[in-house]
Symmetry: C2
Subunit: 356 residues, 2 copies
């Protein structure tokens, strides 16, 4: 598929969480149909999708059926099993491509890839056991953070080391999984750029936002970030370099540390990103539609922003504040259709439109 997908075409979405849900609604706005693959019967995306293949990622017949029913496949999360990808890719294009997935599935590969582009990353070293952790700590003195190379998100599978005495506990947290030690970076703020690259290679980026995390989970993104125009350009050009190097198609979230020594790449996510939710209120084409446009071979939106926005995540019991938030002027509410508000669970978000 290289022609733009016509209205009525079908976008296959792997993963039926809130990102899949908002991707499905964006596809619908463009007259496209969303088919979701997710093992959970009442997952957030299935509630708004034209189709739902309710099966696990090791159900190869279901994967084949799913691929046969769609025109192009995309995803809302990066940890898709390789076997599943092999089956799907034999039948339909997967966008963003496998290289983007391979790089982002492995924190060590990701750091090597980004550094290989000449971009700054935090000091890092591979850690497989106590010996390699000792060596790594000699090179990268604490404080630092030990992370599993694969899986883990929102602060899971991570352990903060404040001294060499934490080594044993940190390793135990990894449970034998290959890991990576990352040195702490002294940064002024964390920002992120939501970039997009189209099928024909054009690149667009939204204005960088400033992110505030709490307990390893994104709490708030404010746009525009309080950075200089030069730093803003740096951030956008850096993101463009990453998506071009990967021959990327779709939206990518690039988390950056803004430091005195320039921008340091923290993490790349080959998908729409929580820190890009503000675009729903600030732009004619939001990150979800931008992603759908890219994977469907449509022209990209230009990313122009026409409002200042503060995005606030509603985590766990935060959702109980919705009746109050609903009374606030200029608050746009986005809930995810999740039944149970467990601690740490992202239940929704609010975009506060700060200025028109």
């Amino acid at each position: 598929m290289t022609d733009p997908l016509a209205p009525g075409g079908v976008i296959g979405i792997l993963g039926g969480g809130q990102l899949g849900r908002m991707l499905a609604m964006a596809a619908a706005r463009l007259g496209l149909r969303a088919h979701v693959f997710d093992p959970a019967r009442d997952c957030p995306a299935a509630q708004v999708a034209a189709g739902h293949e309710c099966a696990s990622y090791d159900d190869f017949a279901a994967l084949e059926r799913f691929a046969d029913g769609v025109d192009v496949i995309t995803y809302e999360f990066e940890n898709i099993p390789v076997d599943a990808l092999d089956i799907l890719e034999a039948r339909k294009p997967i966008r963003p491509n496998r290289m983007a997935l391979a790089v982002s599935q492995d924190r060590l590969e990701e750091k090597r890839f980004v550094a290989g582009l000449g971009l700054q990353v935090a000091p890092f070293a591979a850690v497989d056991d106590a010996d390699t952790l000792d060596l790594a700590l000699a090179d990268i003195p604490p404080p630092g953070i030990l992370k599993t190379r694969r899986m883990g998100y929102d602060g899971k599978g991570q352990f903060r080391l404040d001294g060499a005495g934490d080594a044993e506990a940190a390793l135990a947290e990894m449970a034998g999984a290959p890991a990576i030690l990352e040195g702490f970076v002294a940064f002024e703020r964390e920002i992120s750029v939501i970039a997009a690259r189209g099928l024909s290679g054009e690149v667009a980026a939204f204005d960088p936002g400033e992110n505030i995390h709490e307990g390893g989970i994104l709490r708030r993104t404010t746009v525009p970030a309080p950075i200089s125009p030069a730093r803003r350009s740096d951030a956008v050009l850096l993101a463009a370099r990453v998506v071009n190097a990967l021959d990327y198609v779709g939206v990518m979230g690039v988390e950056l540390f803004d430091t005195r020594a320039g921008l340091i790449v923290n993490e790349i996510a080959p998908r729409v990103h929580n820190s890009g939710h503000w675009t729903q209120q600030g732009c004619a084409v939001d990150q979800f539609e931008q992603h759908i446009r890219a994977v469907a071979g449509w022209p990209l939106g230009d990313g122009a922003r026409f409002a200042d926005v503060e995005m606030e995540n509603l985590i766990g019991a935060d959702v109980e504040r919705v009746p109050q938030i609903a009374r606030q002027r200029d608050a746009a509410i986005h809930l995810y259709g999740k039944a149970e508000a467990r601690p740490g669970r992202k239940m929704g978000h609010v975009n506060h439109v700060l200025r028109g």
Copy 2:
């Protein structure tokens, strides 16, 4: 149901066209589930709804099943058969209420109701046959327009009379249905107000937009309408009087003629309205969410507008221009998931964000 509907609650929507589709997506944004009642298997709203009762309005068992599965019932069109409403209302609240439906289902009742509020309407007279048409034409000289009292929209079931000689052809067009003769109004522009009234009686209105029709179909709405602040207030107060008089709950579209003699009410629609689609890009809470908030017993958004918008309908083959429109800066595309682009069929719309 008088408490606000909690996330996970179910909104029943009668009618699965584009208005139902956009209502369903708005419900999803609030964490509510949309169940659609529509006889067409692949109707626009079913593609994005959590549930679809695919049945006709004379399938009483299906209507009962539908009502049992939802918390509150609303609708995207006013011509719902009375028998169906009786069955539904015995089981769940219908919002907006039956009075609003009764008034808007019958053009003569509507005119009498609006005039009874002390508001201006075009000269009108009931027409049942050739004799009453003769009398009416004596009272209201041509040009005028003969319309069936019930059904008909987008210019259907209407006949323009330029002289008494058109009487026979006009009557023939009515095919024996009770009709109403309306005198033409010399107006400077047509505007509309999208008003909303909540369950607790609070009223909110969006800025009036100016409407341009072509061939009896809305072509374009521009917001803000080029009217004086005083006229804008008049329009909003007038709409508030209408919704209060009906003890209305939900969004109402009020079409007005802006004339030298003041505002004349052309038509009221007890539902979200094509001329309110611009709110999707211009407001934190758009007309669809506003309607869902009202029928779900949530607080209303305040209707504040943070951008100027021009809404353009994509009718029939207009949809072929989508690839070009997708390249336009600040164009937000909304397509309805309709397979076939028949002439006169509303396929989608575009909101051009004119100024932030």
